[in-house]
């Protein structure tokens, strides 16, 4: 299989600070526009936003001494996002389904669901402190 060539790549380690996350997202949004992903950019933006917030808030628990590793890549055919925090991790299979009747009025648990909806692939590592997301052209 041919190695993917990326039109844009950005890898950075940031502190547990959503202002830093916002900066990276803004860079990525510009690249999405440039490479033909304008229509999907709302969904990709939301997925990356949710993943970053999860890393900062749930993973690193706002501990500013902990870092988030962010790997963003864009090509006309594919978008790749990998985000890792320094937290204990979690088991995504144990998340309650927020769309179930009994969970609808609970103010939690929608981030991962939105990630899964807007990206084609969402995978967590075994520990649960790293998420890999992709979107591909059909």
């Amino acid at each position: 299989m041919a190695k993917d060539s990326w039109n844009w790549k950005h890898k950075e380690r940031i502190p547990s600070d959503m202002n830093e996350g916002t900066r990276l997202i803004q860079s990525m949004l510009g690249q999405l526009e440039q490479h033909g992903w304008a229509e999907e950019s709302f969904g990709v933006h939301l997925a990356v936003e949710e993943a970053l917030v999860n890393a900062v808030r749930h993973g690193n628990r706002f501990d500013t001494s902990k870092r988030v590793d962010v790997d963003l890549r864009v090509s006309p055919d594919r978008v790749f996002v990998e985000i890792a925090d320094e937290g204990e991790g979690f088991q995504p299979d144990e998340l309650p389904d927020p769309t179930r009747e009994e969970n609808l009025e609970k103010p939690t648990g929608r981030g991962v669901m939105l990630m899964r909806n807007f990206m084609d692939r969402v995978e967590f590592n075994e520990r649960g402190n790293q998420v890999t997301m992709e979107k591909r052209r059909p």
Binding site: M18, L46, E105, K106, T108
Partner: protein
């Protein structure tokens, strides 16, 4: 007299209905969402407004944290025997409510006049 400083919402009255519009086009960051929630909760819990319409026409983007805050607001409105409606959601925002099934929790109308008439 309401002494709260409102930074995240613009509040007006049409008849008995309190209409809220959002200052931020993108409701994403935690601080803004916290402040937004606080301003909305004041309307319900301190000012005892019973009919609340949230007009989303200026909102381009919102995160799950914002959705969660709206769920809390809905709980408070119900606890105060009030009514809450949402209107004027852009298609992408409507999609987010549908994906999360929150369109079953909230009463969402296409436009403000239809929403006002529903109270």
């Amino acid at each position: 007299m309401d002494m709260a400083v409102q930074r995240r919402v613009e509040v007006s009255e049409i008849g008995d209905v309190t209409v809220v519009q959002f200052v931020d086009r993108k409701i994403i960051d935690a601080v803004s969402i916290q402040e937004l929630g606080d301003e909305l909760f004041v309307l319900v819990e301190q000012e005892n407004r019973k009919s609340l319409l949230l007009n989303f026409e200026t909102v381009e983007f919102l995160s799950s944290a914002a959705l969660n805050k709206l769920v809390v607001l809905d709980t408070k409105v119900k606890a105060h025997s009030g009514k809450l409606r949402l209107c004027c959601l852009r298609p992408e925002i409507t999609e987010v409510f549908q994906i999360t099934n929150l369109n079953r929790v909230f009463d969402i109308r296409d436009d403000e006049s239809t929403a006002l008439a529903s109270f």
